[in-house]
Structure formats: structure tokens, C-alpha cells
């Protein structure tokens, strides 16, 4: 059964602003903290903020959290034929929904290695890059089981390994005349593939099992008025805005299942419209409004088959 829910969300995006190091030392640690919504391969073009939400349906309140906090160390290298950026580090993940009808509680620790690669060819125009990531996670996961014809939820131990690659293509925007700046649409295409191994054990019935499979995802992002908020400023308010839209589709196809688990295929579709505001005098907090509709299931975030419409206000520091 599909569930429809409408959620008002407050989200927080905290990214790469704090470097925990002294400015003068030559060899300094460069750990970069980030708090994001999911764990896509490194250096995703537009990062989605972590979500912390509260919702009330017919007087029943529930809370949603969807966050990954990572501490990453980044290394850049010139390699034969291109440039490589490798990041690695530990993290904590939480995907939680306290809704009694469809609860989700998936949390634990992770270790990830990720990289970005792009070629050393002509710099002009279209931009192409490849990224990859390998994540190992261990934690607890809320799972559904049918016990005596009733659905029951158990907390189980969860171990998960994913390895994936992503390709991003952003077409050329043409020539630039700095004396005559024009609003120029910015767009890019993303395609990714991922292998996953998901294992659960424990719980009341102690039924354990492993699922392996492959995930494919395609996504298109566009900012029709470009990325420059000063080109779209609201008169006299000192506030500019950047609208952007995205559509994506994802499929997870299991190729083996063991123990108490069964092979499944899962689809997830999504569309998002977002408006990012910006204080043109450069002062601090940047709010963003977004409307997002997603439908389907995702094994890797513990999401059960559901349809969700989300209106969110996010704040970026």
C-alpha cells in the first residue's frame, strides 16, 4: 500500500565551512566536516541538506531525520591524464521516521572512501567528471516481518557495503563577455551505478539474511536563470534568488538473497523544485525553499514503499 503524506520540513545544510586547523601551519590536518542528506558519491554538484522534520497528521505527531555527518580528509593529485581528488573518513548516519504506520529507523557508523576524477584535456566548455565511492556501514535497522499474519517491527543488526560510480556531464554555456553578463541557464546530467551488499541479523525471530544487488540512477538538474543571485535580485530588498529544478529515477535490482530475505526490485522516482535565496551584501544565513515529491522504496536508506510530498525550508550557513 502506498502511503501519502505531506510534510513540512526544516532542513539544515552545513558544509565545508569549518576547517579545523590553524591558518599558518604548513602541514596541517584538513578534516572537512559535512552534514548531508544522503551518501552519494563524493563531490556531488549540488548537495542536499540533511533533513530534520516534524509533522502532524490528524493530531498524530511524528518526526523525520535524514542525515549523514561525515568527517573527511581530502587529497588532490595530478595524475597521468587528469586530476584526482580522493576523500576518506568516518561518518554517522541516521534515517529515521517515527510515524507509527510506516516507521523507519536506520542508524549507525560508516567509513567511506570517495574520489573525483576529471581529465586534463581542453578546459573549455562542457564539463565531465567521474566520481566513485566505497562505503562500509554498521548499525541497527528497523525491519518488518510477518508474524502470525500481522506485521511486526524488529530492530536488527545491519551491515552494508556499497561501491559505486557516478558520471556528471554539464554542457558548455558558450562564450562569456564579462562587460555584458547575460543570464545563462546552468544544467547538468548525472548517471550512476552502485553495487550493494546488505546484511541483517538478530531481532526477535533471529531471522537473518543477505541481499546483494545493483542500483542504477539517472538525474537531470537545471537552474534556468543561472547561478547568479544578483542577476535576479528583488528590487531594494538586497535579496536575490536562484530557482532550480531536478528530476530523477532510480532502480535497485537484487541479484541474490539468502536466509529469511527475498529478492526484490525497488524503484524510486523524484522531482524537486527549489528556490535558493541569497543576501547580496554577503551576510550569513541563506534560506532555501523546496517542494519535493518522491515515490518508491530505497533499501539503502531503509525507506519502505511510500509516496511523500515535502515542502521544506532549509538554512545554509
Amino acid at each position: 500500500m502506498m502511503r501519502r503524506s505531506y510534510v513540512v520540513v526544516a532542513a539544515v545544510l552545513l558544509q565545508g565551512t569549518g576547517a579545523w586547523c590553524a591558518e599558518t601551519a604548513k602541514e596541517k590536518p584538513e578534516w572537512k566536516p559535512s552534514l548531508l542528506a544522503d551518501e552519494a558519491p563524493a563531490q556531488k554538484p549540488w548537495e542536499d541538506g540533511a533533513t530534520f522534520a516534524y509533522k502532524s497528521v490528524d493530531g498524530k505527531a511524528s518526526a523525520i531525520a535524514d542525515a549523514v555527518f561525515k568527517l573527511e580528509r581530502i587529497e588532490d593529485r595530478k595524475i597521468t591524464g587528469g586530476f584526482s581528488r580522493v576523500s576518506w573518513g568516518p561518518g554517522v548516519y541516521v534515517h529515521r521516521n517515527t510515524d507509527a504506520a510506516k516507521p523507519n529507523n536506520d542508524r549507525g557508523l560508516m567509513l567511506s572512501v570517495a574520489g573525483l576524477w576529471f581529465d586534463d584535456g581542453p578546459a573549455d566548455g562542457a564539463r565531465k567528471s567521474w566520481s566513485w565511492s566505497v562505503d562500509a556501514k554498521g548499525g541497527r535497522k528497523l525491519t518488518t516481518e510477518d508474524v502470525a499474519d500481522k506485521k511486526a517491527y524488529y530492530d536488527k543488526d545491519s551491515r552494508r557495503v556499497t561501491a559505486g560510480g557516478q558520471f556528471v556531464y554539464a554542457p558548455s554555456a558558450g562564450l562569456l563577455d564579462p562587460s555584458n553578463l547575460k543570464q545563462q541557464a546552468f544544467m547538468f546530467f548525472t548517471a550512476s551505478a552502485k553495487l550493494y551488499l546488505d546484511r541483517v541479523s538478530g531481532g526477535v525471530t533471529n531471522a537473518s539474511g543477505r541481499i546483494t544487488g545493483v542500483e542504477a540512477m539517472a538525474r537531470f538538474d537545471i537552474a534556468p536563470l543561472g547561478l547568479d543571485p544578483s542577476a535576479t535580485k528583488v528590487n531594494d530588498t538586497g535579496l536575490g534568488f536562484v530557482p532550480s529544478f531536478a528530476v530523477w529515477g532510480q532502480r535497485q535490482q537484487d541479484f541474490s538473497a539468502s536466509g529469511a530475505r527475498a529478492k526484490e526490485n525497488r524503484n524510486l522516482w523524484g522531482a524537486k523544485a527549489q528556490m535558493t535565496f541569497s543576501q547580496l551584501d554577503g551576510s550569513g544565513v541563506v534560506p532555501a525553499l523546496s517542494l519535493e515529491r518522491t515515490k518508491g522504496a530505497d533499501l539503502l536508506t531503509g525507506r519502505e514503499d511510500s509516496a511523500v510530498t515535502k515542502i521544506s525550508l532549509s538554512i545554509k550557513y
Binding site: 565545508g16 565551512t17 569549518g18 576547517a19 586547523c21 591558518e23 604548513k26 602541514e27 596541517k28 584538513e30 572537512k32 563531490q43 556531488k44 554538484p45 549540488w46 548537495e47 581530502i74 588532490d76 593529485r77 595530478k78 586530476f83 584526482s84 581528488r85 573525483l116 576529471f118 578546459a123 573549455d124 566548455g125 562542457a126 564539463r127 567528471s129 556528471v168 554539464a170 554542457p171 558548455s172 554555456a173 558558450g174 562564450l175 562569456l176 563577455d177 564579462p178 562587460s179 553578463l181 545563462q184 546552468f186 547538468f188 543561472g226 547561478l227 547568479d228 543571485p229 544578483s230 536562484v242 554577503g282
Partner: protein, 81 residues
């Protein structure tokens, strides 16, 4: 420096006489240069890899996160030791 910015930007910067050097685009912001998060990551990656070849320190991530224009990037690269 110019190559790093051109690599991160979607514009064909080097091909056009009004945008083919760093001083001609110095005042432009990353947004005006159509550099998103990934474009900026690519630019820093090229710069840091280049600085490593010259045996200089990396650009401090705290300083990098404050950069908004091409001129800021130039200043941050010059500030490395």
C-alpha cells in the same frame, strides 16, 4: 590559475578575447562564472595539484570557503607557502 578556473567554469573562457586571462575575469563571482559546487571542487583540485608540484602548501580549506571571485582565488593561491 586561469586553467583551473576555466576547468571549473562551463564557459569557454579561453576562447574569447574578452575573457581569456585571469585579470579579465578577476571581478566575476563563481556564480557569474557558472561554477557550481562541483566546478569549484574541480578548480581547487587543479590548483592544489599544481601547488603540490611546485612544492607549496595546499590552499587552506577555511580560506578557500571564503573565496567568492576569481581575484579571491588568486589571492588564496598566492598566500600559500
Amino acid at each position: 590559475m586561469f586553467y583551473a578556473i576555466d576547468k571549473g567554469s562551463n564557459y569557454d573562457l579561453a576562447l574569447y578575447p574578452t575573457s581569456n586571462s585571469i585579470d579579465k575575469i578577476a571581478k566575476l563571482t563563481f556564480a557569474q562564472l557558472l561554477m557550481d559546487k562541483q566546478g569549484q571542487a574541480m578548480m581547487w583540485s587543479v590548483l592544489n595539484a599544481g601547488l603540490a608540484l611546485l612544492d607549496r602548501s595546499k590552499i587552506d580549506p577555511a580560506a578557500a570557503s571564503k573565496c567568492k571571485t576569481a581575484a579571491d582565488v588568486l589571492a588564496a593561491a598566492k598566500a600559500t607557502t
